[in-house]
Symmetry: C2
Subunit: 303 residues, 2 copies
Amino acid sequence: MKVVVSEHPVKLADAMKKRAQEVEHALDVLLPLPDGQEKRLIEAMRYAVLGGGKRLRGFLVMEVAHLFAVAPACAARVAASVEMLHAYSLVHDDLPAMDDDDLRRGQPSCHRAFDEATAILAGDALLTRAFEVLVDGDTHSDASARCELVAALGAAAGARGMVAGQMIDMLSEGADLNAPEVTRLQALKTGRLIQYSAEAGAILGRAAPQQRHYIAAFGRDLGAAFQIADDILDAEGTAEELGKTAGKDAAAGKATMVSIMGLEQARAHANMLASQASQYLASFGDRAATLVALTQFVVSRRS
Amino acid sequence: MKVVVSEHPVKLADAMKKRAQEVEHALDVLLPLPDGQEKRLIEAMRYAVLGGGKRLRGFLVMEVAHLFAVAPACAARVAASVEMLHAYSLVHDDLPAMDDDDLRRGQPSCHRAFDEATAILAGDALLTRAFEVLVDGDTHSDASARCELVAALGAAAGARGMVAGQMIDMLSEGADLNAPEVTRLQALKTGRLIQYSAEAGAILGRAAPQQRHYIAAFGRDLGAAFQIADDILDAEGTAEELGKTAGKDAAAGKATMVSIMGLEQARAHANMLASQASQYLASFGDRAATLVALTQFVVSRRS
């Protein structure tokens, strides 16, 4: 299976870099260091969320918001919230009682760099801060849009979304999941937050229902493609490339699309989903070129 | 030091029981059990938050909301949110990496009844659900009031509120804190959420700024009195009475107002704060009689 490479790889890389800088700046501003002993808590939060990464979720928020002519400063706040949410989930997932992972983005995971208690609290505080930023008047002038951002994030990230996915993942280690079960698990664990990132841009832009529907479907399929690509990278990659432990899934006996359908079939499936995601953007025309390029990037990336 | 007993102890006990039932009912409705493996997660959330308790925070929301003629069904949703927030903080505080406590409300703590990973996730999901409930249209017809509820809860519970208090508490074990340091720690760790509970009722009721100020000051002093009373109970009580491990503070070398000023002085200080709290309610007249009785209850309770 030939990997389809974006026609605009350089432009996409530039756009991602620019957006990542905007998101990093917003995060830096939204997490100022206090005096007092609680400084250690904020340091741990900053360590967890300012450690780089592709900022896929933040990029999605900002690029979809851009489709609807949202002010970048507002979109960057929502992008920062989503990245805080994502960072909290990684900090808690890495804990000894969970995935027990020492390495994250090529650095010691939060509980290794600080300690377990601090990591638990930093995750809690990042989650709380994410919601706090969303409801601030600087995020959107319309309070009902701000409420919608919180409601959708809660649905995507809570007990019927991401946390449910993490719970099922913990209970499924060594279990013989089939393809629909893996698809549901991954949709909950990773897909819902990626879909939210796209939808948040549409909420900010007060998109019409049909547009919102297309953006949600785009985000859903992009998220599914992303996760399968992640499983392929885990099966193929090295820790050096990934910046995190490789081969974890097989070692933990976790069912993935790779273990169920094999590498080549999984790759074909991811490419199909990426292509489908891009088709939902058709009605936006050339303005969505960067997002279309992103659909190819998520399945062709090496880390 | 004679403990001042409320003139209406029976009426207060009845009111607390009635409110607790309303809050339990709201929690039950807001946390339905799903099918699928994630059921275990919701079971853990329900175990943590439906396990009884005095429901002081929920009671405060409902009674202050009542002062402003808020519909009880709306106030009960906010009360349920605050109780979810409180329950999440207890679940995470009890974890082995934190206070490592096996007992809570006379029952095994969440990570003992389930397991550590489930307890971490249940806490995360309770926190998320608390915010989700607040922004729902059923909570208040005005989206800006809903945003205000979230913003104030985030400020009270996050990295500059409750979680900061927990961080400082972890760092202060065995440290020789003085009275102002203990006061600040306790204001962050417990006081802010109790103050929020009172303020949330005023936010729901669209209270005028001066009334909001009185309610906030009432909540602040009530929270401080409550925490000192808690420290007195910890020093004096038995596990049977408390439903949790007694004598923890001394065993952990934690500084409290009891360790700093002694039992009798601490009791006098708590009574002074309770009396001060009740004075902020003067402008509400007889309508605040139940809340005035509560100020006495928090310093005279035996568990």
